[in-house]
């Protein structure tokens, strides 16, 4: 790579991290707004036909309707999130169902080690199963006390806050348990299969 040409006076619309600098992963900058990123048109889900599924290496797949999903025990989560496009947003407030709670409804095959999250519109992303366990990940349907907006993934999105945010699939419709890692939409074109912001795992083989 040739040296970049520095533009006099250009800083972007980034915030000074100030005392929060220790919470900003390397190469990231702080934002106050909530940027909308999307690889495709925003689907408008019909909650009457919406379902959430857990399938793959489980004895019996589990499936919930929207009403059933809303009756599952929910929790509030306050998390910092980091997008691979280099913004980090602190203290985002979510409400949703822990993946632990969802997995209580299935018998996992011992060989299950990876998960593909799949979404309306065809988006997929792959995540090592351990990253979804022990209260780390959840399926959110409220943001900042309001129903999750479609542009941010509503009616429901996966949130895996300790990984780059492309792993937090918008419009998520289910999780598929697998023995082997299967690269998803961005991972199959060079993004990292793991995606830990603190290790700057942005790309694979780069």
């Amino acid at each position: 790579m040739p040296q970049p040409f520095i533009t006099r006076g250009f800083v972007g619309k980034r915030q000074d991290a100030g005392g929060a600098a220790g919470r900003i992963p390397p190469g990231q900058h702080l934002v106050k707004d909530f940027p909308v990123l999307s690889a495709g048109p925003t689907p408008r889900a019909d909650l009457r036909t919406w379902t959430f599924r857990i399938e793959g290496l489980v004895k019996e797949p589990a499936q919930w309707s929207w009403d059933e999903f809303r009756e599952l025990p929910a929790q509030d989560f306050t998390k910092d999130i980091s997008c691979v496009t280099k913004w980090t947003k602190l203290d985002t407030h979510w409400r949703g169902v822990s993946v632990d709670v969802l997995l209580e409804h299935v018998d996992l095959d011992r060989s299950a080690a990876f998960v593909t999250a799949f979404s309306d519109g065809g988006y997929t992303t792959n995540i090592p199963l351990p990253e979804l366990l022990n209260g780390q990940a959840f399926v959110a349907y409220e943001y900042d006390g309001k129903p999750l907006a479609p542009e941010h993934g509503g009616p429901a999105r996966l949130v895996v806050p300790q990984l780059y945010f492309w792993k937090s699939a918008k419009w998520v419709r289910g999780l598929r348990l697998m023995e082997r890692d299967q690269p998803g939409f961005w991972e199959s074109l060079g993004y990292n299969n793991h995606g830990d912001p603190w290790k700057e795992e942005r790309y694979s083989g780069d």
């Binding site: 790579m1 909308v36 495709g40 074109l189 790309y203």
Partner: protein, 89 residues
């Protein structure tokens, strides 16, 4: 929201980098519905980890482009488009 072109024209720079030539007038046929449009007329999603060009009729992914620090990678799913150089796949 930011100032963004929402056509395949927005990917013209990245595509020219890969193919060494302007690609926006090249016709692309959707592998799903058969719709044919010039690449410059496809619907572009650029506010994402990469660039995604989709069919104007059915929104099927036709081209994806990711720029990593070391190279630019492309995945072409549309028909008719010339195969990209080996180094960009």
């Amino acid at each position: 929201m930011d100032e963004l072109v929402l056509d395949g024209n927005a990917a013209a720079g990245a595509l020219a980098e890969i193919y060494g030539d302007d690609m926006t007038t090249v016709l692309a046929e959707c592998a799903s519905c058969g719709r044919v449009d010039p690449i410059g007329g496809l619907v572009a999603f650029v506010h994402a980890p990469g660039i995604v060009l989709r069919c104007t009729a059915c929104a099927t992914v036709m081209i994806r482009i990711v720029q990593t620090p070391s190279r630019t990678r492309i995945d072409v799913r549309a028909k008719r488009i010339p195969p990209p150089p080996e180094t960009a796949r």
